[in-house]
């Protein structure tokens, strides 16, 4: 039987959750025996070519490209896991949700203390993904099957969840593995 496939992506996140995946240490060898990594920054596969059992997504949705990637994952994966606080509640990027978008862009490109922008241009090229009005948790954009919060979620929690899923067992995280910080 072919190994189940796992895809991962980082949207509006810092890759810290991906670091936490790698933080399962030598268990990553066992994981490589159990699953095959498909589209993921870990192996640089860019496009879905096969159906995946699990999609693990770090980061919230802050621009239209994030939304497209997320919808692509929903289409191609049986189960979606939102990994980390940015994915589950917006996280640090969502701090901009308290400031109107126009003010955010003005601060970043016009008035910030380190800004050098003589043309007073705010980037608006069609090549650049359009920024959303605010940062959204993933489950407010597509259906998410499993949430694993944490900044980042402990490597043990990621391991426990994956092992439970692969063995069709209920997920029962012991105290300390479910955390928001």
């Amino acid at each position: 039987m072919a190994k189940p496939k796992v895809a991962t992506a980082s949207l509006a996140g810092c890759f810290g959750c991906h670091m936490s995946i790698l933080d399962i240490d030598d268990r990553i060898l066992k994981l490589a025996e159990l699953v095959e990594f498909h589209k993921s920054p870990i192996n640089d596969i860019k496009k879905f070519s096969e159906r995946c059992l699990v999609g693990i997504i770090e980061g919230g949705c802050c621009n239209e490209e994030n939304v497209h990637v997320l919808q692509d994952f929903r289409k191609n994966c049986d189960l979606l896991i939102s990994l980390g606080d940015c994915a589950t509640m917006g996280g640090l990027p969502a701090m901009r949700n308290h400031v109107p978008l126009e003010e955010c862009l003005a601060e970043a490109y016009l008035h910030g203390p380190t800004v050098h922008n003589p043309a007073k241009q705010i980037p608006n090229d069609p090549e650049i993904p359009l920024i959303l009005d605010k940062v959204y948790p993933l489950h407010e954009v597509v259906k998410i099957d499993l949430h694993l919060p944490g900044c980042p979620p402990p490597a043990d929690a990621i391991w426990e969840v994956l092992v439970a899923l692969l063995n069709n067992k209920p997920i029962d995280l012991k105290y300390g593995l479910l955390r928001y910080d």
Partner: protein
């Protein structure tokens, strides 16, 4: 000797006249989750996390007096779901960024989320606009994290005798305000006041003491909230 007994989920619990359900449960080593309640403060009944069914009717265990032969339901799937919903609502209606909050690990709201197994709230986040008041030299108020439990209001009024904090507005607009124009710095609050100490979340913080305890050794890093109360039950031989 106790004055009478009543039952919580079928377990016989002794109680004295004047005791609330929550106090009697605590003494018997049964932890009923709560957020606005604090020892030494008059119960407020604000947060509804301690909701139980008393003879079939929902009541807040922190305000409802225990009575002879009362039948209390507490740890049922339905009541657990209510509590979870209430705590989830507290998370979405404020701005709770645990990842940089200095109360993280010692926060009762966060610990309640862990205890109730909340991975993420089912409600949409509201991301409200809330202010930070840093006008006081030793204490700050971050309204982003306030859950309107009213501990500071009761502590300042009843324990400190100062009335520094008060609720203003109503319904879901309710928020805590201070009794001086110009902010907390204009009040007579001191960092040693109970009102500055009893906040269950990171809304009222004494300045310059944050992050003193490393991750792993904070209050709720190892044991769930309420386990101190439950330990009492495990220690008594009759407790089963």
């Amino acid at each position: 000797m106790s004055d009478f007994t009543f039952t919580i989920d079928g377990v016989e619990v002794p109680a004295n006249k004047g005791q609330t359900i929550l106090e009697a449960a605590d003494a018997a080593g049964i932890y009923i989750p709560r957020l606005c309640w604090a020892r030494d403060l008059a119960p407020g009944g604000h947060c509804r996390v301690c909701t139980v069914l008393v003879n079939g009717r929902p009541q807040s265990a922190c305000t409802h007096p225990a009575g002879p032969k009362m039948v209390v339901e507490h740890d049922t799937p339905e009541i657990r779901a209510w509590r979870k919903n209430v705590v989830e609502m507290l998370f979405v209606e404020g701005n709770h960024y645990c990842m940089f909050c200095e109360k993280s690990g010692n926060c009762e709201l966060q610990a309640m989320g862990y205890r109730l197994g909340i991975t993420t709230p089912k409600y949409p986040y509201m991301f409200p606009q809330r202010a930070v008041d840093a006008t006081h030299p030793d204490v700050m108020v971050d309204h982003n994290r306030c859950i309107a439990c009213g501990r500071c209001v009761r502590a300042s009024r009843d324990l400190d005798g100062k009335n520094v904090f008060q609720f203003v507005q109503r319904g879901h607009h309710v928020r805590v305000a201070v009794n001086a124009e110009g902010g907390l710095g204009r009040t007579n609050l001191s960092a040693a006041d109970k009102a500055a100490q009893l906040c269950p979340v990171g809304a009222i913080l004494v300045k310059r003491v944050g992050y003193a305890v490393p991750v792993g050794r904070r209050l709720y890093d190892v044991k769930p909230i309420g386990s101190d109360i439950e330990a009492k039950r495990a220690a008594t031989p009759s407790g089963k």
